[in-house]
């Protein structure tokens, strides 16, 4: 099937206004008759639930954490982009749009990205009005810094905790609506299934993670704001609880999963220290404003970093990409680090690391200034590694961080299942094959504050309110199915723990579908994953019962989904016989090792439809048309 993103025709800059003019409205008195379910309370979910509640809808918000303040958006460090052009350095909405499209290696929808760039300015205004304490200069104006893939300074920040501050702003707005009674909050509650009635999304099935009770919730529409799936790699910068379950189970109910192979490996993470490692920690990209990335020029060099003289250091990003230097985009910087390590020039015990060096910045600006800018990151680095980065360079290595792929949505953020809307990282829409730094926060909040409130009304106005109740047979069946899976997992009583399976899956994914992918490796993964999945259902050990808090059971359900989803990711990577952005197929590279796109054959969104666990999914294509930017070879030289 050829999918239609339903973008408005007309000039790029008029598209969103045109759409706003067409969208139906619902009168204030009628809004309260509609119920909307919002799953997830990170930036996208909290901003959506708060805004929809404010407008007068009846909102039910669900999160699997103990408080909505803990969504993983909270861990975003560096900042949020906006085209304010406050520094007077040549930024504009078009330039932010252009950088984002190019950064995504021409695999995102023009209309969506332009809208995102337009709304970026409203987001900063909104967050300031909420009291977010962004960095200021001495005159009291907002400060900006630079991020990868841009030659202007357009990133707003609150020390190294921008995500935290933006999320607490959205959490405040959400808390206000909970107080007002327009939003009902369900913390420690996990979505297990999407309920579809007559082809439309009309509710969800959830499990109370404290009592184990499984119940259905009916509504007029469902918004999934459940984040990304980087934990399919086991080790990633995502929180331990981040998972693909909500999105994947919606996929199994008919929603298309788009571009699952577009995953982002972030260049600056603290390297793995051993087998016990449970997660990886990001060191913000903003560090690359002042830190210089290097590795020893000679393979045999085993000296400590401070003993390697200047001429024997290879500042490989500055050497290869003089135009952007250390601020080359994430996918490019990650691959460059991998190359250096593959050549045997990596540092640290494992040889999988390169240096991020602040010596020159400390000399130029003084330790105090560096502390003011990045103090919390240096502290965090010291806690984890026991090393002082003011005195010796940090060691960094790429790690899975963000996933550009997600459930397919049209321009209105509605999936192919009517009534199911997908926001934030959980959808696929704006970042193409690679996301630029400081764009995730922007997208989550644009979707939640400024897009969904308009577009969901159009759907609701066409369907009429309050026709659903959770007593319908579709809800009963969904509850039964969810309960049956839980009983099955508990009954296996095998010999291996859930973590062991997750770790094995992660290693298959990282080896074969990580930073460099080949048809051979991907084919191998396609035999290894189903075998591991089969073993899982024979040999996993999930202790305890389903009747109370059971963290192993929660994990088991999520890993069961990762064991299916990983195969989908690999299939997508195998089918996309080109290199673009974070998807690097070794068969398709330029003589200098850069990604070689194939626009003639792959300039489309690949949206997969579920046909059964052991059957190949069905491929649907949404062609990408570029009318306002020229598709070029992405160069940062």
């Amino acid at each position: 099937m050829i999918l239609d993103g339903k973008c408005p025709a007309g000039a790029l800059s008029d598209k969103w206004d045109d759409r706003l003019r067409e969208l139906k409205l619902i009168s204030p008195a009628n809004k309260r008759r509609y119920k909307i379910i919002v799953v997830g309370t990170g930036l996208a979910g909290a901003s959506a639930a708060a805004t929809l509640g404010e407008l007068g809808y009846n909102v039910e918000a669900f999160c699997c954490r103990d408080s909505p303040r803990r969504g993983h958006s909270i861990a975003a460090q560096g900042g949020i982009n906006a085209a304010k052009n406050y520094p007077n350095d040549g930024d504009s909405i078009f330039r932010l749009f252009h950088d984002t499209i190019k950064g995504g290696d021409f695999r995102a929808r023009e209309a969506n990205v332009y809208r995102l760039a337009m709304l970026s300015n409203n987001i900063i205004d909104q967050c300031v009005a909420q009291g977010v304490p962004f960095a200021r200069d001495y005159a009291g104006y907002l400060e900006n810094r630079s991020f990868g893939g841009a030659q202007v300074s357009r990133t707003f920040f609150a020390r190294g905790q921008t995500g935290q501050q933006l999320l607490l702003g959205a959490y405040g707005a959400l808390s206000r609506q909970i107080r007002a009674g327009s939003v009902r909050l369900h913390p420690r509650t996990e979505m297990l299934d999407l309920v579809i009635v007559d082809g439309e999304a009309k509710g969800i099935t959830v499990r109370d993670m404290v009592t184990g009770k499984i119940e259905g919730h009916a509504a007029d529409a469902v918004c999934l704001c459940t984040g990304g799936y980087a934990n399919v790699f086991y080790l990633s910068t995502n929180a331990m609880g981040s998972n693909v379950t909500a999105a994947y189970r919606a996929y199994k109910k008919g929603a298309f999963f788009a571009n699952p192979c577009f995953t982002q490996i972030h260049p600056t993470c603290i390297p793995v220290s051993g087998e016990h490692q449970s997660k990886l920690t990001l060191m913000s990209e903003s560090l690359r404003n002042d830190g210089r990335v290097w590795a020893p020029a000679n393979k045999t060099d085993r000296r400590g970093p401070n003993d390697v003289p200047e001429p024997e250091r290879d500042y490989f990003l500055e050497r290869k990409y003089p135009g952007f230097g250390n601020l080359a985009p994430r996918d490019i910087a990650s691959r460059a680090a991998k190359e250096v390590c593959d050549e045997g020039r990596g540092v640290g015990g494992s040889g999988y690391g390169v240096y991020l060096d602040f010596t020159e910045a400390v000399r130029r600006l003084g330790e105090e200034k560096i502390r003011e800018r990045y103090g919390n990151l240096f502290d965090m680095y010291e806690k984890i590694t026991g090393e002082n980065a003011y005195k010796q360079p940090m060691r960094i290595y790429p790690a899975p961080h963000y996933t550009m792929g997600g459930l397919w949505v049209d321009y209105n953020l509605q999936s192919n299942v009517p009534g199911l809307f997908v926001l934030g990282e959980a959808n696929f829409s704006d970042h193409g094959a690679n996301r630029l730094g400081a764009s995730a926060l922007m997208q989550g909040l644009a979707d939640g504050y400024f897009i969904i409130p308009y577009t969901i009304a159009d759907y609701l106005a066409r369907t009429g309110p309050g026709k659903m109740d959770a007593g319908r047979p579709e809800f009963n069946k969904s509850r039964d199915d969810a309960g049956a899976l839980i009983r099955r997992l508990l009954s296996i009583n095998g010999k291996k723990t859930v973590n062991e399976f997750h770790r094995e899956l992660g290693s298959i994914m990282w080896e074969n579908a990580g930073m460099a992918r080949s048809s051979e490796g991907l084919e191998r993964a396609l035999t290894l994953i189903p075998a591991l999945r089969e073993e899982f259902y024979k040999n996993v050990k999930v202790p305890g019962s389903g009747e109370d808090m059971n963290q192993e059971l929660e994990k088991a359900g999520r890993v069961a989904d990762f064991l299916e989803f990983g195969e989908l990711l690999v299939r997508d990577a195998l089918h996309r016989n080109e290199s673009c952005g974070g998807h690097f197929r070794v068969e398709h590279q330029m003589p200098d090792g850069e990604a070689r796109r194939d626009d003639d054959n792959f300039c489309y969104v690949a949206a997969w439809g579920f046909r059964g666990i052991d059957r190949e999914p069905e491929l649907h294509k949404e062609p990408l048309v570029f009318e306002n930017v020229q598709m070029t070879v992405r160069s940062y030289k």
């Binding site: 993983h72 960095a135 905790q161």
Partner: protein
Amino acid sequence: MNLTLFVWRQKGPREPGRLEQYSAENISTEMSFLEMLDVVNEGLIRSGREPIAFDHDCREGICGTCSQVINGVPHGPQEKTTVCQLHMRNFKDGDSIYIEPWRAKAFPVIKDLVVDRSALDRVIQSGGYISVHTGGVPDANAVLVPKEDAEAAMDAAECIGCGACVAACPNGSAMLFTAAKVSHLTLMPQGKVEAARRVCVMTEAMLKEGFGNCGNHYECQAVCPKGISVQFIAKLNREFIKAALKAEA
């Protein structure tokens, strides 16, 4: 290294709990404290016993989920560090470690080391925000914020809502938590409009949830993983008195 653990086990909110002894063997100094517990739990699962339930999520010190009292100190021995960021190099081979949940009237135990901290959410819901609607706000640079105020507001806003301050307080007070939010919002010009009302409703909500009063012990500041200063409690008190005077006038 090898360690002996004494861990609080409690099946449910209404069940009695007790300390149980476990051994943690071959622990590397590179591990985080939670990774050490992961290893212990894997062992428990393999031997057919129920693993220790504990709250954790981001494992990078920012989400505020992890919550354990280690050897009597919320978040353990290292200053300004959450449990997830505490590494085993802070312990010695042969150490005995006592691990308990947050203990406070307002934080009932759910299971083992997991407690219910929703009381903190309700304190925020009472008024810990600026009552602005989405849309219709001025340009971000229309209202200037002195750098010192923005920095001081950020010092308070860094609170991760973990509740260690409550667990450390002999009175089970949430004063530092509440004061941090009151101070953050009052220091920003956008938040001054509602300042008087906010400090009153948040203080009232705090008492209603069963948190105790502040007795100036400063245990909260000592254990706060973000190093939030008790000076903000003084600020809350000043704001409270100002609000009371305003109400009388």
